[in-house]
């Protein structure tokens, strides 16, 4: 062992996000400018950085998850994307995408790392663990 690092994921690749959606069976709708949510801000959670109440419901693209009433908004901010969604149980998203959209972030990370690591000549192995997914890159 040499070092351990924690990373705060930032979605930088549009193509890898689309690929993640495809792998999960979600529909990525480019240029859809609004996403379905409760429709009214009730103030029960902090607003994501750079987002105001007026921004809610608006997006640059949207993700539709089968079986869910609500949708996920994909918003471009500077050189990355953020995901906006309503986790109200009625919408069904929390159950399908996991807490903090974990399942979607997992799929995105796998897509991104696999593609770029292979370009650099790494062999990539992936396996399911109790806590999530483990990827092992070997040169």
């Amino acid at each position: 062992m040499s070092h351990i690092a924690k990373i705060e994921l930032v979605i930088q690749s549009f193509d890898d996000l689309k690929e993640a959606c495809q792998k999960l069976g979600f529909e990525f709708v480019e240029n859809q400018k609004s996403y379905r949510w409760y429709g009214r801000w009730v103030g029960d959670t902090p607003m994501p950085e750079g987002v105001s109440v007026e921004d809610l419901g608006k997006c640059d693209h949207a993700i539709r998850v089968p079986g869910c009433l609500y949708e996920i908004g994909v918003v471009k901010q500077k050189n990355h994307f953020i995901l906006l969604w309503d986790y109200y149980s009625v919408g069904g998203l929390s159950e399908k995408i996991g807490p903090n959209a974990g399942r979607l972030k997992q799929a995105y990370t796998v897509a991104r790392v696999t593609k770029e690591a292979r370009k650099k000549g790494y062999r990539v192995m992936e396996k399911k663990t109790e806590q999530g997914i483990r990827m092992v890159l070997t040169a």
Partner: protein, 64 residues
């Protein structure tokens, strides 16, 4: 064997661990993964990071 291990939890948390590297090579080799994924929020260096090629000489008093 040199490995870069990436654990992604079900709630989206990412942890990177390097194994089998000596010295600063672990940081250099894994930097591209960190750049791909986002911001590094914490780092812990392990004993192998400090292992170098210098030999440490120890003098032991054997008698008297």
């Amino acid at each position: 064997m040199k490995e870069i291990v990436i654990d992604i939890s079900d709630d989206g948390e990412v942890c990177i661990e390097t194994k089998g590297f000596q010295g600063k090579a672990c940081l250099e080799e894994s930097q591209f993964i960190k750049d791909l994924l986002g911001k590094e929020t914490a780092k812990k260096l392990t004993a192998a990071y400090y292992y170098g090629k210098e030999k440490v000489k120890k003098y032991l008093q054997l008698c008297g």
